[in-house]
Symmetry: C2
Subunit: 334 residues, 2 copies
């Protein structure tokens, strides 16, 4: 299996990306195509004494600017490390794509270059978030700021297939993020999506309130990309603010400092869990190939894990299952 | 000044409501009209030896069911403790209204019985949320699941007046909750609201991402009622989940338990701060009189504080200022 990795996407690129590719080849036995400035990559490999077995370096022109409009990927950044990585995926030289670059650009590339699975109205981003007992998928996390009810229902199908095929969860429970549990709650979008999800044949457990969501009350929480993005970042922001306040308590006086010393290791581990607000990378679901968005701040282990996620997605045949699951909707307006 | 209090709204009614009214009369010097089953209230006062100076008991028939449709307030619950309290407010026997009952019903009563300030499209709920340095107002927290851009702009005006008049904040900063800081972010609602807020003359600081919101980066964060309600409950849910996980760390082994003993008081105080996810009650802004929604779980101190908030709102003349601020919009479609 071959995975294409945008060597220059992410805050710690290209070094961590290169190291992650080396780790992935060694531990997972996959070949990796790295796109970007090959001279820089070759120089880095030499300096860091990284073996390039199973790794192909492919020339690309520049890096997609994180602050550029996502659609710029199709124009001035068409030959960037991300643009070339999409080419490699599209022409079949690689089985899956991984980038830690701009989420918006990945959505654009996935939708316009890789293209949608037949019948999919809009691809969406799903990622696993940590919960005390079992992680849960939040989807859409920001690909579609505005959604129609049918889109939310499809997100449910895509998330359900992903969780059962890639994560091995049997008959995953699907909830709709809403401002109350009754089916009359929310706006028109939620009311209609509730109805569609109820009739979808999915293991739909109804509305889920945001107060319950962090507990991990169902396997996937479905919402529009605006609300999903607000929710994702609010969990992160709330956790970080709270940890900041706890830090204040721990430093308050010598007695607290003593106690802090005793708890240091365990509290640090807990903070780490919540810091990486997403577990692994985010998957762009609804496109014809495996497209994984790694965290912008990915180190080599995170890159390797994102590659692993891409490998699992390919091996599972999840995309073929999604295609079959959505075949009924092919003739609908898309 | 006279405040009318729904004696039977809330989880700890009527006892805590009665005690709260007694406290308010004693500490704030206001008269309180309590609506509900007066025989029960009189019996309680006798049993608890609570003096009824400055307190009038007014008969009402039953209590608005928390799970009933909010509009039921206008029908089968018209003579409930909340319905009668609204009558007392509307006919001028009281200057302000406080209830710990159903938020939805309070919005319905405020809008349909108290009525909107001239020019107000939709009243909305704003409440102060805790932040490390200074609290911030989130608005709308759930009165309007679906909003138009002009409504968000008005929420900004209402929040700004409330914060300056009632909270004494000079030229309060107003942010728009969005999925990115650039003015092109979000859906049509956010883009258009951004434009309107920019032209509003408010101290508009642009888009605020949910990751930044809990830090208290501006005085008020404006959003639609769906997103606001999701955000409010998600902060609460995330904080509670985190505290649960921290509790696990503190109980993990004898050493951690020792440390926990040392930190107990300070951590408990921190948890209390976040538990009462809102500071004081929530104000229904945009209606012609002061309408305060106290927490459902209010004890007597919380009830007294909600009464204090109502008093401050009346004294400040905030509603008159809101009327003047919105006068320009009177001829618009509402």
């Amino acid at each position: 299996m071959t995975i294409v990795l945008d060597a220059f996407g992410g805050d710690k690129a290209p070094l961590c990306n290169l190291k992650g590719a080396v780790l992935a080849h060694r531990e997972l036995g996959v070949d990796v195509i790295l796109t970007g400035d090959t001279a820089v990559l070759r120089e880095l490999a030499k300096k860091e004494q990284l073996p390039l077995d199973g790794i192909e370096l492919l020339e690309a022109d520049g890096v997609m600017d994180m602050h550029a409009e996502p659609t710029a990927l199709l124009k001035q950044y068409r030959n960037s490390s991300m643009g070339v990585a999409f080419d490699v995926l599209c022409d079949g030289r690689a089985d899956a794509f991984v980038s830690a670059g701009s989420t918006g650009a990945i959505v654009v590339g996935g939708t316009m270059l890789v293209k949608r699975i037949k019948g999919v109205k809009r691809p969406a981003i799903g990622s696993l978030l940590p919960a005390p007992k079992r992680s849960y998928m939040l989807m859409d996390m920001g690909a579609n700021a505005e959604c129609r009810p049918e889109m939310l229902c499809q997100f449910g199908v895509l998330a359900s297939v992903y969780l059962s095929e890639v994560e091995g969860r049997k008959n995953p429970t699907i909830g709709l993020l809403n401002i109350g549990t009754e089916d009359t709650k929310g706006g028109e979008l939620q009311k209609k999506a509730y109805e569609l999800l109820s009739q979808s044949g999915l293991n739909f457990v109804g509305n889920v309130e945001s107060r319950e969501m962090p507990k991990g009350v169902c396997d996937a929480v479905i919402t529009d990309g605006f609300t999903g993005n607000i929710a994702l970042k609010l969990i992160e922001g709330t956790a970080m603010t709270l940890f900041g306040m706890i830090k204040g308590v721990l430093k308050k006086n010598p007695i607290n400092q003593l106690a802090a010393g005793l708890l240091k290791k365990d509290l640090y581990a807990l903070k780490q869990t919540m810091d990486s607000s997403e577990i692994g990378g985010a998957a762009l679901l609804g496109v014809r190939k495996a497209v994984i968005k790694a965290h912008g701040s990915s180190d080599e282990v995170a890159i390797k894990n994102a590659i692993r996620q891409a490998v699992n997605m390919v091996k599972s045949g999840a995309i073929e299952t999604m295609s079959r699951a959505l075949a009924d909707g092919v003739n609908e307006e898309s």
